[in-house]
């Protein structure tokens, strides 16, 4: 679907660098964080949108949260990340809010264990 340019991975890997200290952190705290991140980057690499478009959308979403969230609300970065991604896909006419909501309800109502 897309031709991801990875020109010199071999070069980078061949440098035999040890990861620096303080690098032992888990990249994605929950699997869905990774999925959401992966979707955004893969769509961008497939040419569906420019990264700047996504970035601006994300800034808006976070700005709104900063303005409206109460102290009790926990800041969940990847929720904002997904909201921004969905808004961008809706703006581009590639997905509709209704379809997203329907699918979410459908999945939420599946008996456990039926989604694998």
């Amino acid at each position: 679907m897309t031709d991801v340019p990875q020109p010199s991975l071999e070069k980078v890997l061949s440098e035999h660098l040890q990861p620096p200290m303080a690098n032992g952190e888990v990249l994605f705290e929950a699997p869905w964080h990774g999925r959401v991140f992966g979707m955004a980057v893969a769509l961008h690499e497939a040419g569906v949108f420019n990264w700047d478009e996504f970035q601006l959308q994300l800034i808006d979403v976070i700005k709104l949260w900063d303005r409206t969230a109460s102290d009790a609300d926990e800041y969940q970065y990847y929720e904002h990340f997904q909201t921004a991604l969905q808004q961008l896909m809706v703006d581009k006419g590639l997905l509709s809010r209704e379809d997203l909501a329907l699918r979410q309800t459908h999945l939420a109502n599946l008996p456990h264990g039926h989604d694998h």
């Binding site: 690098n23 979707m39 980057v41 969940q76 929720e79 979410q104």
Partner: protein, 192 residues
């Protein structure tokens, strides 16, 4: 939103995108693997180690980091324009993105959680010294602290000061000792 709801929401999005042929699930896996394994602060650490070992390289890195990074061809993306700022005996630099989470992925990987949190984003600009102290980093009051606000257009990385005791070590060994947090500027390196 609970974690379960958030996970289902992500699943709903993924299932629609793949069903409509907008995305292949394998591509998502590829991105995750790539970022888990190949994109990370080891790339930035390599630049730092080179800069410490080679004055001419350091000069180029400080004047046009974007060009230097492109020569290295790291596989990260998100460095349209990279600016490297140097810590000196007079000035300590620290990087933030007050608006969201802009960060030079290609050289530092993905940002740590605290970098994206509202507390760090808002406080480090107002009271950098206290925030750094919470990281266990105590900057002498004689030293100036400069805070750099990343944006979609410009991303920053700090060139930390090299501990004197590391003099004479080779590039690989130096690179292995450079921490991510020192390149964000929330810590300084010490020889221990």
């Amino acid at each position: 939103m609970s974690q379960t709801t958030a996970a289902i929401r992500a699943q709903a999005l993924e299932s629609l995108l793949t069903e409509r042929g907008l995305l292949d699930a394998d591509l998502i896996d590829d991105v995750i693997v790539r970022y888990n394994e190949r994109v990370g602060p080891m790339n930035g650490a390599k630049l730092v180690a080179h800069a410490w070992s080679d004055v001419a390289f350091k000069k180029r890195l400080l004047t046009d980091a974007t060009a230097v990074v492109n020569e290295f061809e790291f596989s990260g993306g998100q460095v349209d324009k990279l600016v490297v700022v140097e810590n000196t005996p007079d000035t300590h630099n620290v990087v933030v993105c007050t608006l969201c989470s802009c960060y030079p992925w290609a050289v530092l990987g993905l940002p740590p959680k605290w970098y994206k949190d509202p507390a760090y984003r808002s406080r480090v600009v107002r009271e950098p010294r206290s925030v750094l102290a919470e990281f266990g980093t105590f900057i002498s009051t004689e030293k100036k602290i400069r805070v750099w606000d990343s944006s979609a257009e410009i991303r920053y990385m700090v060139l930390p000061e090299m501990p004197a005791a590391w003099q004479g070590r080779d590039v690989d060994s130096l690179a292995a000792s450079v921490s991510r947090d020192s390149m964000i500027g929330v810590t300084v390196l010490d020889a221990n």
